[in-house]
Symmetry: C2
Subunit: 357 residues, 2 copies
């Protein structure tokens, strides 16, 4: 029995990717050497890095004038790099949208570096919706938002128009649906949801926006350093980049972002239909802002969940406990999760209602 | 035929570690899930992180009062974090020893943040020796050095006494020989030599030296952030930490640092004896400063190396081309390289001399 892996991240990866990754740890490219014991400057690994970048460009139709990087430090280091690279050294000012834990963390880091205008926040309702109708000051060096909030199960469906630069943390929904990269100046994403294992961070940045702050930026924190070294300024996280490449190749081979958009739509429909139908559960996020990646739901008042917990475990389901900030349950339905897993969970929810309703 | 892997890094890892890592990518801990698709907060992965830290503590006999972290960004990000965390915000000043490319890179980053006294440099002789007899100003917030210089094949055999804090980049020789951690205040090392795959950075830091600069440090760059979150401030590089844990366990199972010290001594002796004996090659580093990890050697004037290159490739040797800054050859003999591989290379050198001398 294969597990139904609803983990919020690091999360499920395609079985064929895991098989190839496992093999490469033993013998890579027929070199009689492991992927993880060769030089990152070998032609074999340079080809991996280039292929990974090319796949990002192809899958997201990244226009000319953007660079693609695989860095380290996760979104948390990007929270620092973004203001360092984009906020003016003198009188730096940026606009942030506060949609949850990670957005707040990004705000905290920007506040160390310059002035931050929080243009909208859903903190008043435990982040169960996406603020709309806010205005972004024209003086802001950039606007920053988080496209999907894993903890609270909300997702931006329509991005606002911005007077200046547009920056987005897409850690938990990149590659899950169509994206017009040209509307963004900088996109970043930790690999460990739809792209690969933890340890790599994807950055897609418009070259012309860089080098304009007047700040003396430490080399590792300066995007231009990594661009000039083609993402090989220092030893990259070899394994994470390789497995990301395999996962992006899997996505391409199956039909790309267009294909996965349909799959993800189906999964979300099946999941949310059951949350809305089932008398024992209730969804936590506002319907119009519901995430197609993370569906959060609570047992209704008085419902005891011990039997439910036993049932889903029995069905081979793992990783659906909600984050402590919300409680209840969270079904994360990243790209590699099959529709079948969602149907299994829905069946368990129905059975729980039938036997405990 | 298994390759003789002399790669300078990422470098050879023990075959049993590769087998275990490969298996964990398919199924970890009997969970029916891959190591790289489970939550880093799962008890299974938390156990890995704790075990890795415990093994570092045990193998290096780390005293009380030190924290052990597994971060990201390699030594290059440490070049930034060290001055951020240790250089006073007002009139910050540090002393650096310039022993090669990586030491110079560390100096460049510190210079962005405060005043740097370069107390010694071997740049005058293309870094083929370790400066000695220098003095470290008492006003320096800390002294920084690089214990082993992979590119130039030199290694510090005796660390200087310091009036203040002692910081060392041990990326390429940590775990290769005995170390008195109590003489250091902060040690860091990229994993990809003696510890594991690229993507993780080990930091061993004396807790009491932190939080004293008066600087508002970005969260990711602040060691105290990571210490307070037990190295789980954000998603750690799961695979790299796991394989590091396996490699450290391998070292412990075989007899620990005491055992590997003897093995490394033997390998270095066999290698340098041949470099000194062979009439067609000459070592580049001063004898007293020769690295036990990286032996650099050049063909003597007039010797054509095409036949040699064909011979070592034929013998299954890989990764001995020298770095472009030195040229010639570099035999990297990290912990996992067996003595047999060194003997194979030496045999090829002898045979080359016999047939081409």
């Amino acid at each position: 029995m294969k597990k139904h892996n609803f983990s919020a991240g690091p999360c499920i990866l395609p079985p064929e990717v895991l098989r190839q990754a496992s093999q490469a740890v033993l013998d890579f490219d027929g070199l009689e050497l492991s992927l993880i014991e060769i030089s990152h400057r070998s032609k074999n690994f340079v080809a991996v890095m280039e292929k990974a970048q090319e796949l990002v460009r192809e899958l997201l139709k990244v226009p000319e004038g953007y660079s693609i990087l695989f860095l380290q430090g996760g979104a948390s280091l990007e929270f620092v790099m973004v203001p360092y690279n984009l906020m003016k050294n003198e009188n730096g000012r940026a606009a942030y949208l506060d949609t949850g834990t990670w957005a707040s963390n990004a705000i905290k880091e920007a506040q160390r570096i310059g002035q931050v205008d929080i243009v909208g926040s859903s903190k008043d309702k435990n982040y169960n919706y996406i603020p709309k109708g806010f205005s972004i000051p024209g003086e802001a060096d950039y606007f920053h938002c988080t496209s999907n909030n894993t903890i609270f199960g909300t997702q931006i469906k329509e991005f606002p128009e911005t007077p200046g630069l547009m920056v987005c943390d897409m850690s938990s929904d990149i590659f899950s649906k169509p994206l017009d990269v040209s509307k963004f100046d900088l996109i970043y994403a930790g690999a460990q949801k739809n792209m690969g294992p933890a340890g790599a961070t994807l950055v897609i940045v418009k070259d012309e926006i860089l080098g304009k702050t007047g700040r003396n930026i430490p080399a590792y924190l300066d995007y231009t350093t990594h661009i000039s070294k083609e993402s090989m300024f220092n030893t990259p996280p070899v394994f994470s980049v390789y497995v990301s490449m395999l996962t992006l190749q899997w996505l391409k081979d199956n039909g790309g972002v267009e294909w996965i958009t349909e799959v993800n739509k189906q999964k979300a429909e099946v999941m949310y239909n059951e949350i809305d139908r089932n008398s024992l559960f209730t969804g936590t996020a506002e319907k119009e802002d519901r995430s197609s990646m993370n569906a959060c739901f609570l047992p209704v008042n008085g419902v005891k969940t011990e039997a439910f917990d036993a049932m889903w475990k029995e069905a081979g389901i793992s990783g659906i406990n909600g984050h402590r900030s919300v409680g209840g349950y969270r079904a994360s339905m990243y790209n590699a999760l099959p529709l079948e897993s969602v149907k299994t969970l829905v069946d368990v929810m129905k059975e729980f209602e039938r036997t405990n309703g």
